[in-house]
């Protein structure tokens, strides 16, 4: 072995190359670097970007505050204006409301101007203010946007041969006494796409398999060890606390039924992923473990977007 080293040293020159000048240059650079510690700008930028995006979505979306001319009643509104957008969500629960702005809620039927909107206009025009009795049961929730920009939220009720609706904002109950309107409504097929459980299972399986393959590929490419799972005790404690926190957030979102709102889901995604990314970056950067977290986050974001497009 030494003969190889000797011969190579002779060929590349035996005189020391690591000079005092080079040493001093390194020490000088080290002194300067110590005073301006490098800032890892990628992660703060990503977090700030995500928060700004979220705020932007809130501003342009559900929190959009526009003052529209208010009509005295839904009936008056339906008589003077046409429905521009309509979304319907099945919901038998009196205490919750599951329909919302088109494109913002998962699992609702959405319609533009057409037969569906005409039908609902017809139903609304034949409504009369009435007292609600206990025989009516709620069947679905409707979010309606009229041509003048006014938005109303209605709960649709049914009792034998009668339908009714409740204006959520004013808590005014309307009965539809017109038989023709009732028949037209019940006979109409709302083109509801039935939920395909098998397709959902296949989708879930492909998603999980994709996640597993991607993680394996990243670990293989960057030689990131799977074991030990945690870099140290602090890492383990932080991950456990985060998981606990995530579970609580998930439960709150379910209880409050925010889970059906796409923006809320995106917020949930951020609340879950950002601390995870930061933790993995802080503890696992040395072993490139944060690459797995970053790729997983990107993959989940793509899956989330695909899921939203699928359920729309």
């Amino acid at each position: 072995m030494t003969s190889f080293k000797n011969k190579l040293d002779k060929e590349i020159g035996e005189a020391p190359r690591f000079t005092k000048a080079l040493q001093q240059r390194i020490v000088h650079s080290a002194d300067q670097q110590q005073h301006k510690q490098s800032r890892n700008w990628q992660y703060p930028t990503m977090i700030v970007g995500a928060i700004v995006t979220l705020l932007f979505l809130f501003i342009v979306g559900p929190l959009q505050q526009t003052v529209y001319p208010q009509h005295a009643s839904i009936i008056e509104l339906a008589q003077s204006e046409e429905i521009q957008q309509l979304s319907i969500a099945s919901n038998w629960n009196e205490n919750s409301f599951k329909a919302g702005r088109t494109g913002w809620v998962i699992g609702q039927q959405q319609y533009g101007k057409g037969e569906e909107t005409k039908l609902i206009e017809n139903v609304l025009r034949h409504g009369v203010v009435a007292q609600k009795d206990d025989y009516f049961h709620v069947i679905n929730n409707m979010w309606i946007k009229f041509d003048n920009g006014q938005v109303v939220k209605l709960k649709m009720y049914r009792k034998m041969e009668q339908i009714a609706f409740l204006d959520v904002k004013t808590n005014t109950f309307y009965k539809v006494n017109d038989e023709q309107a009732f028949t037209a409504f019940t006979d109409f097929n709302f083109k509801e796409v039935p939920f395909k459980f098998t397709a959902f299972l296949v989708w879930l399986g492909v998603m999980l398999l994709g996640g597993w393959v991607i993680e394996r590929a990243v670990r293989w490419k960057f030689k990131i060890p799977k074991e030990p799972r945690f870099v140290n005790d602090k890492h383990q404690k932080t991950v456990i606390i985060l998981k606990f926190f995530n579970c609580i957030v998930l439960v709150i979102f379910n209880i409050k039924t925010w889970i059906i709102f796409i923006v809320a889901d995106f917020a949930l995604f951020l609340v879950t992923m950002l601390p995870h990314l930061v933790t993995e970056y802080y503890f696992g950067r040395h072993e490139k473990r944060h690459y797995v977290a970053v790729i997983n986050a990107v993959y989940l974001l793509i899956v989330f977007i695909a899921f939203v497009i699928w359920v729309q």
């Binding site: 060929e11 190359r17 690591f18 390194i26």
Partner: protein, 181 residues
């Protein structure tokens, strides 16, 4: 206090460089074949070590740790656009120069030197030879530095020796000896 701490760190760094600087520089050179770039790499290596000393967990020797950083920095350079540009301009430059009998003779002589033969090998084979024969690291240590398995290192060493044998004359070849890894 900070100045004192800084001075102590600088002293520590100077001592580390005095002990390990030369071989890190030579390892970097054997990767990139350019002394000025090797100096830049070594500068980066010691700066990285200085700024993130807490990451050195003393699981391996400091020598292995510094060699590992040097290897990674050298790989970074070899992958960089700077290197690709450098190589491209190098080729263009030599392509433009005239061939003369003297130049041919010099190049023929250069081809048989150990250094020239070594630089003709692909980097994955060259590096195991450098680390094993020049840095005198053990197979296990090389595997740790390169982030691969012992068997991979052994296989690469065997193939690298075969490739080098084809390029060297018998007298030069003997420098590798008959090692069993």
């Amino acid at each position: 206090m900070n100045d004192k701490g800084g001075a102590r760190l600088s002293e520590h760094l100077t001592a580390i460089m005095a002990e390990h600087g030369e071989y890190c520089l030579r390892v970097a050179y054997l990767y990139v074949r350019d002394w000025s770039i090797a100096e830049e790499i070594v500068q980066d290596v010691f700066l990285a070590y200085y700024l993130q000393q807490d990451r050195f967990e003393q699981r391996a020797s400091l020598k292995t740790y510094l060699v590992k950083i040097t290897v990674h920095k050298s790989h970074d350079y070899l992958r960089s656009w700077k290197n690709k540009r450098h190589q491209l301009f190098g080729k263009l430059h030599f392509g433009a120069s005239k061939r003369t009998p003297e130049r041919d003779l010099i190049q023929a002589h250069e081809r048989v030197t150990l250094q020239a033969a070594l630089f003709e090998l692909p980097i994955s084979y060259r590096e195991v030879l450098i680390l094993y024969y020049y840095q005198e690291l053990k197979v296990r240590e090389i595997a740790e530095v390169l982030g691969s398995t012992d068997n991979t290192v052994k296989t690469r060493l065997r193939r690298a020796r075969q490739l080098l044998q084809n390029k060297l004359e018998q007298s030069d070849w003997e420098v590798l000896g008959d090692d069993i890894f």
